[in-house]
């Protein structure tokens, strides 16, 4: 019972949303950047990549 409570508490903790987990394969992407250049994750192999999602251009952060 205590364990169940803990599990549900973790699942529904405020603001906690599912994300990809450490160790999972990063989904490939093939997108244009702000200068119209093509960027593919596959081409960045061998380099560590920080992928920063933001809600909307020109909002704080």
């Amino acid at each position: 019972m205590k364990l169940l409570k803990h599990i549900f508490g973790e699942l529904f903790r405020k603001g906690r949303r599912p994300m990809l987990r450490a160790g999972e394969t990063a989904p490939d992407f093939d997108l244009l950047d702000h200068l119209g250049r093509r960027v593919r994750l596959g081409e960045l192999r061998g380099r560590r990549v920080v992928l920063w999602f933001y809600p909307k251009a020109d909002t704080p952060g």
């Binding site: 992407f29 950047d33 960045l44 990549v49 920080v50 992928l51 999602f53 909307k56 020109d58 952060g61």
Partner: protein, 81 residues
């Protein structure tokens, strides 16, 4: 470092110029990448969440950070890198 949102090339170009970002801002106009990375639940959702992922040189997720606070997001990231 790659930024990513569902904005158009033009919107992101204006954003990058305004703040002088020196890294690419990716334009996920189909929303497929945001959904694949769970920043969006579905294509009709308005805006992706403030998620940051560190991807290893081998192409695996190394670190996943979820925060609504941009300053905290940067701080968290620096701590973990």
């Amino acid at each position: 470092m790659l930024g990513i949102s569902c904005d158009s090339v033009e919107e992101n170009r204006a954003f990058a110029e305004k703040f002088g970002f020196e890294f690419p801002l990716l334009c996920d106009t189909t929303r497929a990448t945001s959904i694949a990375y769970k920043a969006l639940d579905h294509a009709e959702e308005s805006y992706p969440r403030r998620f940051t992922y560190v991807i290893s040189p081998e192409g695996r997720i190394e670190t996943a950070i979820d925060t609504q606070d941009p300053a905290a997001q940067a701080g968290e990231l620096l701590k973990r890198l």
